[in-house]
């Protein structure tokens, strides 16, 4: 289904020549990066390699100093998270995701509530939102959350991550960026989230997964991009590489060209 042959011909998101500097730190240098529809690309690399910075460039939080971003073939500039969302790019941040005191449905609709009447003062359509939230969870096979009226504080780490990811994909998004979605999770909950990522791929989304965990990466990714010191040093097809080779690229023992 995603061994390369079944992939769409054109990438949904293509970055080329991206550079970003923070004062004296050159966080990204001439980085190229592509995501195809229906593909999971893992973005890996050592601490400080520039993974989060690259994600933030795509998400509209950091403007790149140089380079171009193409979305669906057209060149775009993404200046804010709102613009990214309007294009169909959603980001799931690791810990900044949810409001514990609100319920699942309220979290999924936060900032984009469905209301009857004028935008801010109109009456909330609670039932509509509840129904849609349940639909999305069901479509994504998130079976462990049955009650979208439970406060998020009651959920397990995996369920919370599932809510955050479901929220990201319910707005007709085409690309989802996940920054270490399994970092704080146990075995079963990690499995839960990885299944969800596979589900997103099956539904045709492009998924970018930042992870330090090569086991997770090898379980779900179709391609593995390695950043080191702000440069992309290698891109592997999952079925043509080994964890040893990826580790070598991360640590700089091996200089493969992409």
């Amino acid at each position: 289904m995603n061994d390369g042959s079944g992939l769409a011909a054109a990438p949904v998101l293509a970055l080329s020549g991206i550079s970003k500097r923070f004062g004296a730190v050159q966080a990204l240098t001439d980085v190229d990066f592509e995501v195809f529809p229906g593909e999971v690309v893992a973005l890996t690399g050592d601490n400080g390699a520039g993974k989060s910075t690259l994600i933030k460039v795509i998400a509209g939080t950091h403007a790149p100093d140089a380079g171009t971003i193409r979305f669906d073939g057209a060149e775009v500039s993404i200046n804010s998270p709102r613009q990214a969302a309007a294009l169909g790019i959603e980001t799931v941040y690791q810990d900044l995701a949810l409001c514990d005191n609100l319920d699942v449905a309220a979290n999924m609709f936060l900032g984009r509530e469905t209301v009857k009447g004028p935008a801010l003062l109109g009456r909330l359509s609670d039932l509509d939102m509840e129904r849609r939230a349940l639909e999305v969870l069901k479509r994504l096979n998130v079976t462990t959350i049955r009650n979208v009226r439970s406060p998020v504080a009651m959920l397990s780490g995996g369920q919370r991550q599932s809510v955050a990811i479901s929220r990201a994909v319910m707005w007709n998004s085409k690309v989802v960026l996940l920054d270490e979605p399994t970092a704080a999770l146990g075995v079963a909950q990690t499995h839960e989230v990885l299944e969800l990522i596979k589900e997103l791929r099956a539904q045709g989304l492009g998924v970018v997964l930042i992870s330090h965990n090569l086991h997770d990466v090898f379980e779900v990714a179709d391609r593995i991009a390695v950043l080191r010191l702000g440069r992309n040093v290698a891109t592997f097809r999952r079925d043509e590489t080994t964890p040893e080779e990826v580790v070598a690229a991360i640590t700089g023992v091996l200089e493969t060209t992409k």
Binding site: P81, R82, A85, T91, Y93, L96, A97, L98, C99, D100, N101, L102, A106, F109, L110, G111, R112, E113, V115, A119, L120, L121, G122, R123, L124, D126, N141, T143, T144, I145, R146, N147, S150, M154, L155, S156, G158, Q159, R167, A188, Q189, H191, E192, E195
Partner: protein, 345 residues
């Protein structure tokens, strides 16, 4: 998928959910017990006259407590409400006198409308300044509003050289009636102070706004996780400025009502009321860490404080014990809440 063994959504018992799980419910229970004890021990407690007085007295702080609760839900605090009450009352009275001196009275009631508008506008500006400092300049709410407390109280003294003022002019009677009248009720029902009616109306508006509008969800979201709210596109700064303005205006309204009852606006009006108001909000279940609080809770907190004061007076206990008791209740309420949330995890 054959997925299994995931921790499911925790089953919750009815007392761990909704209103029954809130601190407000425990405090309401305590309030009911207190009222029963007092009704049994003092024959004067449940008289129409006393009930009417109690309603009037807690209404004097409860409107401001509604606004303060909004600010507390966003994890903010407003220490300037007492001063704002005073400056608003002063501005209203001064505007009324000034209109009288200027002989500007185009239609009956105009002096009343214009002076109350001037007072509430003053309150709104104070709230705007607080909100701007907190939301845009990113100053800590505690320190900011501590500053405003002092600035605004100072302005109140400056405005009347410390002597205070009082409403005057053709609409004085109307002003006193609208702020402090009691609506006669049939035999057996306590007369309704108008302030109480305003309170209930505003509490209903607040309840609808918090529970049934996107704005309300945003207020709770900011208190729950401000960064998340911002990232999901909530206009955090605008909502924050909004709650500070509403808080100041609600305090201003209470200030005007108190000055109507007093018949004057002394410069020390509502001095140190911010402590009682914040205490009432916290007793009623508003969480100073943000994310939790309701209109009903705010009112319950105010009633509890007033019933204690009233009870001490009726029992001929030195009323100065009130402060000590209120302090104990704050700690007890927070402690019970801590025990309960410890139980639910």
């Amino acid at each position: 998928m054959g997925v299994q063994g995931f921790s499911n959504v925790r089953e919750t018992r009815f007392w761990q959910r909704g209103f029954l799980a809130s601190q407000s419910a425990y405090v309401l229970g305590a309030l009911v017990v207190l009222i029963v004890v007092m009704a049994l021990s003092s024959p004067n407690f449940l008289t129409e006259r006393n009930i009417s007085n109690v309603m009037q007295n807690f209404s004097f702080i409860a409107i401001a407590t509604l606004g303060t609760t909004l600010v507390i839900i966003t994890a903010g605090i407003d220490l300037s409400v007492g001063s704002t009450m005073a400056l608003t009352a002063t501005a209203t009275s001064l505007a009324m006198r000034w209109l009288n001196d200027a002989g500007f009275y185009p239609f009956p009631g105009s002096a009343f409308i214009l002076s109350v508008a001037a007072g509430l506008a003053t309150a709104g500006i104070i709230g705007l300044a607080n909100g701007f400092a907190v939301a845009k300049l990113k100053l800590a709410p505690f320190v900011t509003t501590l500053g405003t407390l002092s600035i605004v109280r100072g302005l109140t003294y400056v405005a009347t050289q410390g002597r205070g003022t009082s409403p005057d002019g053709p609409d004085k009677g109307l002003f006193l009636a609208v702020t402090s009248a009691r609506i006669p009720m049939p035999e057996g029902i306590p007369n309704l102070p108008v302030a109480f009616i305003y309170l209930i109306a505003l509490a209903l508006v607040m309840w609808v706004a918090l529970n049934h509008t996107a704005w309300g969800k945003h207020v709770y979201a900011i208190g729950g996780n401000e960064a998340a709210a911002r990232l999901t596109g909530v206009n955090v700064d605008r909502v924050k400025i909004g709650v500070y303005v509403l808080c100041s205006v609600s305090a201003g309204l209470n200030g005007i009502i108190i000055s109507g009852w007093l018949g004057s606006a002394p410069a020390n009006l509502a001095n140190a009321y911010e402590l009682t108001i914040i205490a009432a909000a916290v007793i009623g279940g508003a969480n100073l860490f943000g994310g939790v609080g309701t209109a009903a809770g705010a009112i319950i907190g105010c009633i509890l404080i007033e019933v204690i004061r009233n009870g001490l007076v009726l029992a001929r206990v030195d009323p100065y014990w009130q402060q000590t008791l209120v302090g104990c209740i704050i700690v007890a309420a927070v402690f019970v809440d801590r025990l309960r949330s410890g139980r639910t995890g």
